[in-house]
Amino acid sequence: MNPKTQNKIAIGTLYGVAGLVVLILLALLGYILVSGLPQLSWHFLTAPAKAFLAGGGVGVQLYNSFYLLLLAMLISFPIALGAAIYLYEYARDNWVTTTIRTAIEILSSLPSVVVGLFGFLFFVVKLRLGFSILSGAFALTFFNLPLLTRSIEDSLRTIDLSQREGGLALGLSRWETITRVILPAAVPSILTGVILSAGRVFGEAAALIYTAGQSAPALDFTDWNPFNISSPLNPMRPAETLAVHIWKINSEGIMPDAKAISSGSSAVLVLAILLFNFAARYLGKRLYKRLTSA
């Protein structure tokens, strides 16, 4: 076969492959949205779930997802920030640094179910936190730390070395230069990374089924005392999230309308991820403009 025909066939095949992949991916997205969007209603998004009857909502699960996300981010962000600062700004290139980097890489490649099992063993059983928001938030933190650390490190990398020298030449310590000059300049990019990692945390289930638990006790949204068991703020109550809910009702399937609820919940998850993506891009650009505009 001459090279020209070969070329044509090969390029044609690649068009076919790419087309097929686009088709699969669009079909997937389409299926989620087409089957899920009709389920969405104010009632669905706010009502509590029903165990044996049709017509329940996902209000509590949705709230739990956001609350857990918030707590996990509050715990993991400062740690990831500190770690990224040390790794990028202070660490010298030696075996200690290499070992630490390897450890972080290992953490990021651990299956989330293993992270969840460790959370179960350590927080739920050993520290007697039980199936609780707090246990879940710690498990999510472990899951989130390596990615967030890497993303913040990448953000620090985008700030020019000359900015650091500028701070040092004024007699500032490196710490002051980092916190007063580098971090403010890196905020747009750090924020983008944080929001994108939030999307991942939001949809995580395997790390949560044995830490935050698989039940969602009814919440009293008028009671904001974190020490009351039915208070939405109570961090010691079990809290099934939206993602865990989808898994749970499909594995145990005792609700008559499990499929409709799963479709609706999947659509909510995907929409939330979409929202996170857009928000990350939009806010990042917006902040950057504000920083540089005259």
């Binding site: 740690i79 500190g82 202070y90 450890a103 299956p111 460790f118 310590s173 949809g203 799963s262 991820i273």
Partner: protein
């Protein structure tokens, strides 16, 4: 000379900046140490629980890896507990390898299309779609598998529809966006002049792609595939929802089967801490952890080899 001494004193005073510097180093290093402690903690805890099956319950490691009967609550005719993990190990590997084998040509083909043939369409349609799909939660993949793939398998092959085949389909779609976007990165890192040199020598576009670009990007593409395999091997819920959860050696691709992760997710809540049933599950978790270390090592080796070339 008095002023010199005064100046020297001023210059040798420990300034606020110097104190802040130490404080900053300590704080940021503590954060880093915390992460390392987490890693060590996870590996330590899982390993100590995982080897209890062999140390306190005296199960032989060989039996664990090669026996085909998984019933940790039951002892066989010889009084030995049935903790053969082979079905799950086979299930996990089978599903990982199959999904990688199917996903690789699609992912690399798409990446080549996006980067070499039609960068415009690639950037406009494929890039955002793959990026979005990378972020879709795995339970959503599992749910779609349950409501689309399993019924389809049932309709075509009969049986329950649950099994390795359905699991493979779900994992294929799940790792496809990841492997694709990593492959795009690998292709993008091939310098432009490689292509120009090849085209200038009269090679066709396909010859350039096949003989120059793909060859130069091989380490990166391999990393992408291994990364996808690691993700497939460790995926729990999406697989657990469609595989059927029968801890038996799979007779065919459409029989219900089990993976390490699926047995773990269904089992850990139903056993008592410290019992053999529970310890055996932790041993499965240990296998999972060790495999993720192996994948990590492979990715490193590929990276090192790529640099040497």
């Amino acid at each position: 000379m008095k002023t010199t001494q005064q100046l020297e004193r001023q210059l040798k005073r420990h300034s606020k900046a110097a104190k802040l510097e130490i404080w900053g180093k300590v704080v940021s290093f503590s954060a880093l140490l915390l992460i390392v402690a987490v890693v060590v903690g996870i590996i330590g805890f899982v390993a100590s629980k995982g080897i209890a099956t062999f140390t306190s319950n005296h199960v032989s490691l060989w039996d664990f890896l090669t026996e085909k009967k998984w019933n940790p609550g039951i002892t066989d005719a010889n009084g030995k507990p049935e903790v053969g993990a082979l079905p799950m190990i086979v299930g996990s590997f089978l599903i990982t390898i199959l999904s990688a084998v199917v996903a690789t040509p699609f992912a690399i083909g798409t990446a080549v299309f996006m980067n070499e043939i039609s960068p415009n369409k690639g950037a406009k349609i494929l890039q955002p779609v793959t990026e979005l799909l990378v972020g879709i939660p795995s339970v959503v993949y599992g749910f779609i598998g349950l409501s689309v793939v399993v019924p389809a398998t049932r309709a075509i092959f009969g049986g329950s529809g649950f099994g390795i085949l359905s699991g493979t389909c779900v994992l294929f779609v799940m790792i496809l966006p990841t492997v694709t976007s990593m492959s795009v990165d690998a292709l993008r890192s091939v310098p432009r002049y490689y292509r120009e040199a090849s085209l200038a020598l009269g090679a066709t576009q396909w010859q350039t792609i096949y003989k120059v670009v793909l060859r130069a990007a091989t380490p990166g593409l391999m990393t992408a595939v291994v990364f996808g395999m690691a993700r497939a091997f460790g995926e729990a819920l999406a697989v657990q929802m469609v595989i059927g959860n029968a801890a038996l050696m799979p007779g065919s691709l459409v029989d219900p089967a089990a993976t390490l992760t699926s047995v773990l997710t269904t089992g850990i809540g139903n056993t008592v801490m410290g019992s053999l049933q529970n310890n055996a599950l932790w041993s499965l978790a240990l296998v999972l952890l060790l495999m993720s270390l192996v994948f990590n090592l492979i990715i490193r080796l590929i990276g090192r080899k790529g640099r040497l070339q």
